[in-house]
Symmetry: C2
Subunit: 327 residues, 2 copies
């Protein structure tokens, strides 16, 4: 089996690559070949002796999408994209990468013209939804993005569904929850604190909490995100039906509950490293985000996330800290 990952240098892309190399298979099928594409060349994976192709390229550039699928990968994980904040500040770049790049990939597949029918797993986002919300957002809720990023994700979802319906490819859109705990350095995303208040204290560093403890949000770990994508790749057209874009399960909890989970897992000393510094701008941005879903379809189709925020913290400690917490 040949697998193509776009956006392979990103956080989810790297973790998906690692997982596929550990598994050496997707579903029941052994992986013989991996193609990894990103704007910057993804790192060559260690411990995979079979064929790996690494490419630095922009899918929105002419000919790139055609070349990306020229060896007819069986499964394509389309993760490439400009993140939410950048798509908002750089309007044209966001539309070019997230909309035109994604559409170019779908078009290249459609135009292959040799019976090529790959599985296309698209990493979408809960950002396709925007306030106001019911208490729990149902699977059939309106697409009401309040960011250009969410708009671009929603458009690729619609194209994915139409291209699937027309028989050009077999698409599945995975609407990711807020992924925590993100490894690495703090970033300037408005959502960064959700990871920061766990990651930094566990590293012995101070973290700033810019919102109130009552803020409710929908989370899953990077490990679960990778699990969603892999599980999605295994679903059949028949299982998915026409509505191929699915909101993923997650843990719904308040910031206060996250902090109490951190206390249970890592103790008072770690929690004491969180410093409250309310930021009205961040508060306002976060207020527009979805907080709770009722992802019946994804659960019925066998997608699983963590059961508690404690599990999300433990996944981070296992996957990123070698099981150890800084004193």
């Amino acid at each position: 089996m040949h697998i193509l990952i776009t956006g392979a240098a990103g956080m989810i892309g790297r973790k998906l690559t690692e997982r596929l190399i550990v598994d050496r298979a997707l579903g029941a099928q052994p992986i013989e070949k991996l193609t990894l594409i990103d704007i910057v060349a993804p790192a060559r994976p260690v411990g995979f002796s079979d064929h790996v192709k690494i490419r630095a390229a922009d899918l929105a550039d002419p000919g790139v999408a055609e070349k990306a699928i020229s060896e007819r990968p069986d499964v394509i994980f389309h993760l490439a994209g400009v993140v939410s904040g950048e798509a908002e500040t750089e309007f044209e770049k966001g539309y070019r990468v997230n909309l035109d790049g994604g559409r170019a990939l779908l078009e290249a597949i459609r135009l292959a013209g040799d019976g090529y029918l790959p599985k296309v797993v698209f990493s979408s986002s809960m950002a396709v939804f925007g306030a106001p919300f019911p208490e729990a957002i149902p699977d059939d809720f309106n697409l009401t993005p309040l960011t250009s990023y969410g708009t671009q994700k929603a458009i690729i979802e619609l194209l994915l569904a139409d291209y699937t319906r027309r028989g050009f490819l077999e698409g599945v859109g995975i609407r990711l929850p807020s992924i925590v705990v993100r490894p690495g350095k703090p970033n300037k995303a408005a959502s960064g604190f959700f990871s920061g208040i766990i990651r930094e204290p566990l590293n012995g560093e101070e973290a700033i909490l810019p919102v109130s403890d009552s803020v409710l949000h929908w989370h899953a770990s990077p490990r679960s995100a990778v699990g969603f994508l892999i599980h999605g790749a295994g679903l059949t057209r028949k299982q998915l039906g026409d509505r191929v874009n699915l909101m993923m399960p997650g843990v719904c909890c308040t910031v206060g509950e996250q902090i109490e989970a951190l206390r249970r897992v890592a103790g008072d000393k770690v929690v004491a490293r969180i410093r409250r510094a309310p930021d009205p701008l961040v508060q306002r941005i976060v207020a527009g985000w979805p907080s709770r879903f009722d992802p019946k379809r994804a659960l019925a189709l066998g997608f699983t996330a963590e059961a508690t925020f404690d599990d999300i913290i433990r996944a981070h400690i296992e996957d990123e800290l070698g099981g150890k917490i800084a004193d």
Copy 2:
């Protein structure tokens, strides 16, 4: 006030033009100038002595959208598009005209760069929704098109909302019901019989009914469709909020109820011209269409449709038959 109509040669475009020329104003503002664009040159309207510009052009062609807005129309009615059946049989043409053409118009406005902020009224469709449906489809129902046409309409809706949110234009998307009674010759659209079973018998001709009397659907007259577009043009950004795409009110009734309405308005002799000839293909297509909406927002914003199917038939007799029914 300068008004631009794209798709001005189509049925709704012609009726909108006629209405604007009768009113000589949009809301409280007199109309000084009309620009009418379509793939084929729209007919020059009679009885409008002020400035009218007629143009045959394709918005998806380079430079056409820029030229269309070069005189900075205050209000743009964007009706241009390939119809449902054609978008399904001609995939590339549908995406080119309905998606690329619409996006080119929005982009031309964004890039005007001189503070230009037109009102853009987009004729969308209930085809942005696809089965399965709840008994009455709420305003916040998922976008689940089951046609390429519906997909293209949903994408322009999303762009319209994002461009409005970003302050590039003031958009409103008008999701039209099934418009009956369409004037003119029978066409091959799967929905054609909804108009045919009223129009042909009123003209003294036989009409074929390919579905059962129990088929339920959502209708408004061409006159109401024009009214929706004009009313939409008068709504403010504040009234609309972020969800600028609105399902329109209509009359929900079965084919059997339509026929009984025709009997009340025109008598048994006219109804006797309907011949039942079930067509399983048409039955299957129609089964995927929405039948009943709960358009709370549009009603609250003052949109109005006919109250009964009798009114829809009467509107046709008044507007198309000079008030007379063939014997």
